[in-house]
């Protein structure tokens, strides 16, 4: 508990210091944290609550290449209380398609793996499923003069589960389609930081 508090305080101090520094140099890489809410879903689980993700991107020529880790949480309403967690590590490519001094618009393509853990304590039930995962995301980034930028995302997230007859015999349920809308913040690093 103490460690968590210390980490939080140090993070807050670093963020505040960086945030107040005005920057005009070229962005070289970034780390980000984002939160999104699934709006549309076609899957077995049907009650997605939120998705939280973090990642790192590095600029290579015009593209940004990076890796991310997302977690989607789903909970069955009512007395049964089944909880489902999707852990989704991915590699991503971001392509800027529009940019000005105030904003940028990027397309992100990601490919990775999805591990799904389903638990119900009341019925002593648990299950683990996995499959490939891909994402197509549109990212509207608001540029500030500080270390932090804020952005909106809308994405289509697709998972294709490995075959498991006990889990489902329908191909329909092996496909998980999610369309989500969310917000995020990124901490930018510049060329001079890396020298």
């Amino acid at each position: 508990m103490k460690t968590t508090k210390i980490i939080l305080i140090i993070s807050a101090v670093i963020c505040t210091t960086f945030a107040k520094t005005e920057i005009f140099a070229q962005e070289k890489s970034d780390i980000y944290l984002e939160l999104s809410k699934p709006l549309l879903e076609y899957s077995l689980f049907n009650r997605y609550i939120f998705d939280v993700g973090t990642g790192y991107n590095a600029k290579i020529n015009r593209l940004y290449v990076g890796a991310s880790l997302n977690m989607t949480y789903s909970k069955l309403k009512g007395e049964y209380n089944t909880q489902t967690y999707f852990i989704k590590p991915r590699v991503n490519i971001l392509l800027p398609i529009y940019g000005s001094n105030l904003s940028t618009f990027k397309i992100k393509l990601g490919l990775g793996y999805s591990v799904i853990s389903i638990n119900n304590k009341k019925y002593a039930f648990s299950d683990l499923q996995q499959g490939i995962n891909a994402i197509l995301e549109l990212k509207f980034n608001y540029i500030t003069k500080t270390r932090f930028d804020y952005y909106f995302i809308i994405n289509y997230d697709y998972t294709y589960l490995n075959k498991d007859k006990d889990f489902t015999q329908l191909d329909y349920y092996r496909n998980i389609h999610l369309v989500s809308f969310g917000i995020g913040a990124k901490l930018k690093f510049y060329e001079k930081d890396e020298k």
């Binding site: 299950d127 007859k165 015999q169 329908l170």
Partner: protein, 168 residues
């Protein structure tokens, strides 16, 4: 006006091209299917409202009177029925003990076989997976929003058994 038409056509196309459960191949009486699989295959709820009457009838014929092996957890039970649940998403199906076609409960005609089934349920653990060999009853229920109603009919205590699996 033109934009509205394009948008409308796009929406209709997206809905029509949306995946449909009943197009999958599902063998109902081979491996034990989950409650979700069965409901999806026999009702196709998400695209039901788009279907013409002919397709609805075909969907009913696809499952009605078919033998099925289905598995799930028991959520609740009464004298002549119990509810089989898919814990993963809350989908449930009614399993009727020696029913008439529409699963109407008649406690006065309660037989020795019926009580054997109920006893089997009472002696099981809540956490046990319930396996059922039954017959699907599928029919159109005409309420404000018409839907395909399905339930499973079982006749003897041999049609049901329990295992202490923790996974599907």
């Amino acid at each position: 006006m033109k934009n509205k038409s394009v948008l409308l056509i796009t929406i209709i196309l997206v809905i029509l091209l949306a995946p449909s459960c009943s197009r999958d191949d599902l063998v109902l009486n081979q491996d034990y299917v989950t409650v979700s699989d069965l409901r999806c295959y026999c009702r196709d709820e998400k695209t039901f409202f788009l279907k013409p009457q002919k397709e609805i009838n075909q969907l009913i014929e696809l499952c009605d009177n078919q033998n099925v092996k289905v598995k799930g957890h028991i959520a609740e039970y009464g004298l002549c029925y119990f509810i089989l649940l898919d814990l993963r998403n809350g989908e449930a199906i009614r399993v009727c003990i020696n029913p008439d076609y529409f699963c109407t409960c008649n406690p006065t005609s309660f037989s020795h076989e019926d009580s054997a089934i109920i006893n089997k349920i009472l002696n099981s653990n809540k956490t046990d997976m319930c396996y059922i060999n039954g017959v699907i009853r599928s029919y159109l229920r005409l309420t404000t929003v018409p839907t395909i109603e399905i339930h499973i009919a079982i006749e003897s205590a041999d049609d049901i058994f329990f295992e202490s699996d923790i996974n599907y």
